[in-house]
């Protein structure tokens, strides 16, 4: 088992004819992802890497039964691509694009929820269920199937933890990059709830960063609703206030959203918070080893 994406995920790539769309379609196919359709207005009837291209999301879904979409769409058009996917009731919409105006995401996010669809991102690396389905830009070779669920606001830190776990001989159930923007479709809580229900996931690595209060809300959720062990890392302890640290959402403003606040909240909820990514991977690996031993006894 896994969460969000698996063997039955049939992926549509929006803007498949762009450079990024083509490149990552090739990568996703090479990983074994079922990329069944592409969409690019003006390119209907063409093929990219053997994948049929459609004029609209509606045509793509009708012809191929795509049940998830990933967009490699420039920021100016990315919001519209999300709306088109939601209006066609694609259940899972992954948006990789960075630099979408934040207030657009306030309105588009509400629209997506009203349609009952799930949006992951924007400004995220996508979702990976190792050995099965890669949806996005994550480098496939560093992941391996196993018991650890990873959820992170940062792409590179997702890779960092997954790579370190793989090196330690510990695999992952599903890895979800939820995105570095202030307004994102899917938050830590949504993913924690899915991992808690997923039989394959034995332990969870939560990678947060400064800005907002998603980690604090995750801590409150973990305290009451998550029985599986959670290990966390929070990036940005040394970040100066009022500066946007690369990600639009990674900013301490008005003295709120500091790493210290988040770490304190998580520790109060019983989460092990580590000082570095190396320590985080080791702590999760130790936990899974112990649990496996415990289960066998």
């Amino acid at each position: 088992m896994s969460i969000l994406v698996g063997a039955n995920t049939r992926v549509l790539v929006q803007n498949i004819t762009g450079d990024e769309g083509r490149f990552h379609t090739r990568q996703m196919l090479a990983y074994g992802t079922k990329v069944v359709a592409g969409n690019a207005p003006g390119h209907g009837g063409q093929e990219v890497e053997g994948v049929p291209v459609f004029e609209s999301v509606r045509e793509a879904v009708e012809a191929t039964g795509a049940n998830a979409t990933v967009g490699f769409v420039p920021a100016r058009f990315a919001g519209d691509a999300i709306v088109e996917a939601a209006d066609n009731l694609v259940p899972l919409i992954v948006c990789i694009t960075e630099w979408i105006p934040v207030l657009d995401m306030v309105r588009i996010g509400a629209h997506v929820r009203s349609k009952g669809c799930r949006l992951v991102g924007p400004n995220c690396p996508g979702i990976m269920t190792p050995g099965c389905c890669k949806m996005g830009i994550l480098p496939g070779n560093i992941f391996t199937p196993g018991p650890v669920g990873i959820v992170s606001r940062s792409g590179t830190l997702t890779y960092e933890i997954a790579g370190a776990l793989t090196d330690l001989g510990v695999g992952q159930s599903t890895c979800v990059g939820i995105g570095g923007d202030p307004i994102i479709g899917t938050t830590f809580i949504d993913i924690l709830a899915l991992f808690e229900e997923d039989p394959q996931t034995e332990a969870i690595a939560l990678i947060g960063e400064i800005g907002g209060s998603d980690e604090e809300e995750a801590a409150a959720f973990i305290a009451t609703r998550v029985k599986k062990p959670v290990v966390a890392f929070i990036a940005g302890k040394t970040a100066p206030p009022d500066r946007r640290m690369g990600h639009a959402g990674a900013i301490v403003s008005g003295g709120r959203g500091t790493a210290a606040e988040k770490i304190a909240a998580l520790e109060r909820a019983g989460v092990t918070v580590c000082n570095s990514t190396d320590e985080t991977a080791e702590a999760v690996a130790a936990l899974v080893g112990k649990r496996n031993t415990g289960d066998r006894n």
Binding site: L103, V106, P139, T156, E209, G254, S276
Partner: protein, 410 residues
């Protein structure tokens, strides 16, 4: 992007939010003339992108045009928390009976825009939020329906307003909400919103922060960007497509990805060092971008060692390694370099660096420990004070300090 007060007030006046009469002066002569026109009693306010201007001495009251002239002379050309003061706003003093707070903010956890109102205006609203949270009324607007009439009524009632004053307050609230969306704000405040002795509202100060992601579609707002508000090196970084923030330590960092760049800074601190910068070269950086990024971080004379930390996904480790080798060959690198390369083409990258003076590390922990030790050794080996060489400089003109930037927004 933060906007200057004198810009924000002009924008908000366009939405019908009332402000006292005022003018902008760049010289003390101009300030005196404006004060005379406004009747003599004015407040002279330094235009600098920092919070807490009053406490920092950036706001002065004047009873006569001559006093306004002196106040402007004292402020113009000075610096406020490290930010240069080039202009002052000279505003008529209005007799105030009560000060209110009205603000709109992007509420990340509600995924909505939240409006806040309070009868405890004029002071730091974050302080009010901490000490008496019940004194602030909040409503969250439905993103698809917009701000509902009953919500503006609730805010006015919570602020203790009734009759004509409530009507006026509600109209200002609607104007603020409209401006928030049309200017792609992440924060928009009118504080204090004064009720004058004549029973009218007047906004005595305002604060507008615009979403950087939206500047490309708001050219008139993008034009208000104050180039002096950021370091020239940071402007140069944006030009070449990397993200750089100068800090005060001596270990320079070159990293791919914002999260990893922050984590790299943290691990340097964890092992007893201080990061000199945040630097994210982004995904799939070209060799020229990496060279430019190296030049930008090495322009800082405090840098005593460089830590290159790459987890290659779309970014290729061999490209980064080649850029480092080229920079060394060109004589641009005056301090030791530690590199930790993992992911795409890592083996090729390490091969390129073998036999050079670059120190290779296997893990982030090892890399940070080596970089911190080398920075300390380099610092001990050189004369006190910044190194004389390597300060490239990107633009003429004064620079603001990061320390001052930290104070902004309060």
């Amino acid at each position: 992007m933060k906007t200057h007060e004198y810009h924000a007030r002009e924008i908000l006046k366009g939405y019908g939010i009332p402000f006292p009469p005022a003018g902008v002066a760049e010289t003390s002569d101009q300030a005196e003339a404006i004060a005379r026109e406004l009747g003599g009693k004015v407040v002279v306010k330094a235009q600098a992108l920092v919070g807490g201007r009053g406490k920092a001495g950036g706001i002065k009251r004047a009873g006569t045009p001559e006093e306004a002239r002196d106040a402007a002379a004292a402020l113009l050309g000075s610096s406020l928390k490290g930010h240069p003061v080039r202009k002052v706003l000279v505003a008529q003093v209005v007799p105030v009976s009560r000060e209110y707070y009205l603000g709109a903010v992007l509420d990340r956890s509600a995924k909505r825009v939240t409006l806040m109102a309070s009868a405890m205006g004029g002071v730091d609203i974050e302080e009010v939020a901490r000490t008496s949270p019940d004194a602030i009324a909040r409503v969250s607007a439905d993103p698809l329906l917009g701000l509902a009439d009953y919500q503006t009524r609730d805010l006015a009632r919570a602020a203790g307003l009734a009759g004509d004053q409530a009507t006026a307050f509600r109209s200002i609230t609607r104007a603020l909400y409209q401006a928030f969306f049309e200017c792609d704000c992440s924060l928009l405040e009118v504080n204090p919103l004064a009720l004058t002795e004549g029973g009218e509202f007047a906004a005595l100060d305002s604060k507008m922060v615009v979403d950087d992601n939206a500047l490309s579609r708001r050219p008139s707002l993008a034009a208000l960007l104050d180039p002096e508000a950021e370091e020239p090196a940071e402007t140069e970084a944006r030009r070449v497509g990397v993200s750089y923030i100068e800090l005060e330590g001596n270990v320079g960092c070159l990293v791919n990805g914002a999260g990893l760049a922050m984590a790299t800074m943290d691990v340097i601190k964890l092992y007893g060092g201080e990061p000199a910068n945040f630097l994210d070269i982004g995904g799939g950086a070209h060799i020229d971008q990496v060279r430019a990024a190296l030049r930008i971080l090495l322009h800082d004379p405090c840098v005593r060692a460089v830590l290159v930390n790459i987890f290659g996904g779309i970014t290729r480790c061999d490209v980064v390694a080649q850029a480092v080798v080229d920079a060394i060959a060109a004589g641009e690198v005056r301090v030791p370099v530690v590199a930790r390369l993992v992911g795409t083409n890592a083996a090729e990258g390490r091969r390129i660096l073998e036999g050079t003076e670059v120190v290779l590390a296997g893990t982030m922990t090892e890399a940070a420990q080596k970089a911190v030790a080398l920075a300390a050794a380099t610092a001990a080996g050189s004369a006190a004070g910044p190194a004389a060489t390597g300060s490239a400089g990107f633009a003429a003109g004064p620079t603001s300090s990061v320390a001052a930037g930290e104070e902004a927004g309060g």
